[in-house]
Symmetry: C2
Subunit: 186 residues, 2 copies
């Protein structure tokens, strides 16, 4: 049995590939082990079990999303930042739809890491929206507003609530622009 350089991170990365290939519902430890050329029982050297694996996947996904959001926001001001973050958010969901579903599947109460990564996302939104006001209450409020729009839209779209007859991308652009107009009136 030749040793390979497996560790928790590489296991989770491979799991992420499988998740995007076939949907997260069809991820099994057997398939994951096969892809890694080991036996299912050997996975327990690197992860505690499938529940922890999902937590780790959720955290990886949320982290990737936050990086893309941060990148998009960097150096941009107000509306431009909001449009760029929205575009990055959509891009992530388009590129990793199943990982995005896992983000929403795992309650943050299950993991300290998840809470921390969630805070990173909120911090990005906070920084962008703090360009509109100095009042923390309002910044939080508009962060929640904006975050709700983004998640709500992509999630409803993913589940199939939106009819393709009306263009999806245009709708979100219009919504974000509307939201921005509203902020300009603060």
């Amino acid at each position: 049995m030749p040793r390979q350089g497996l560790n928790t991170e590489s296991v989770v990365k491979t799991a992420a590939l499988l998740v995007e290939e076939n949907g997260y519902e069809s991820l099994t430890l057997h398939k994951l082990a096969s892809k890694l050329n080991i036996k299912p029982a050997s996975l327990y050297t690197h992860i505690q079990g499938i529940d922890e694996l999902y937590v780790l996947l959720a955290n990886m996904a949320l982290n990737q999303l936050s990086i893309m959001m941060l990148d998009a926001a960097k150096g941009k001001k107000r509306g431009d930042a909001l449009r760029a973050v929205a575009a990055a958010y959509c891009e992530y969901v388009k590129q990793s739809p199943e990982m995005y579903r896992i983000i929403m599947k795992i309650p943050h109460s299950h993991s300290e890491d998840l809470i921390k990564t969630g805070r990173a996302v909120k911090s990005i939104l906070f920084d962008v929206l703090s360009q509109y006001t100095k009042e923390d209450d309002k910044i939080i409020l508009y962060s929640r507003y904006y975050h709700s729009i983004l998640h709500g839209f992509v999630s409803l779209n993913q589940t199939g609530f939106f009819d393709d007859a009306f263009p999806i991308d245009t709708s979100l652009s219009n919504i974000i622009n509307n939201f921005i107009e509203q902020l300009e009136r603060i």
Copy 2:
């Protein structure tokens, strides 16, 4: 073996109870059969399998939600209707959080019924928002906007994105009122 008056509907209703009791991830055909005093294999008389069961649960949940939304909107105008629908939406999620998660878990492409019930929900939103404009494009746009806010907010809250330090209910009220103000400017 005494026959009981089981049918697909009663089986799904019982499944819904179990789903709310212990979370939808822990629903099994064994537990469902136990609650119904039959053996797991006998469930297949009433449902095709666990996948179909989830589709039926999603449809039941979405239907219940749509009824509450319709009830809330009935006889109300514009902002009042939007606030009432939002309250009803939240009430449903508070009362049946696990069923709400199932709504978002099952893609509508899996079932013609789901597409139909989804249309019922959209139709309610369409009717409410048609009080603000006669242009279908705009009605659709603002329906998506409003729907995204509602789903996004309750869903992010469910997953644990929102810090309890800032009051949750107040946030949504403020967001809805902001949205309404915006509509008044059309």
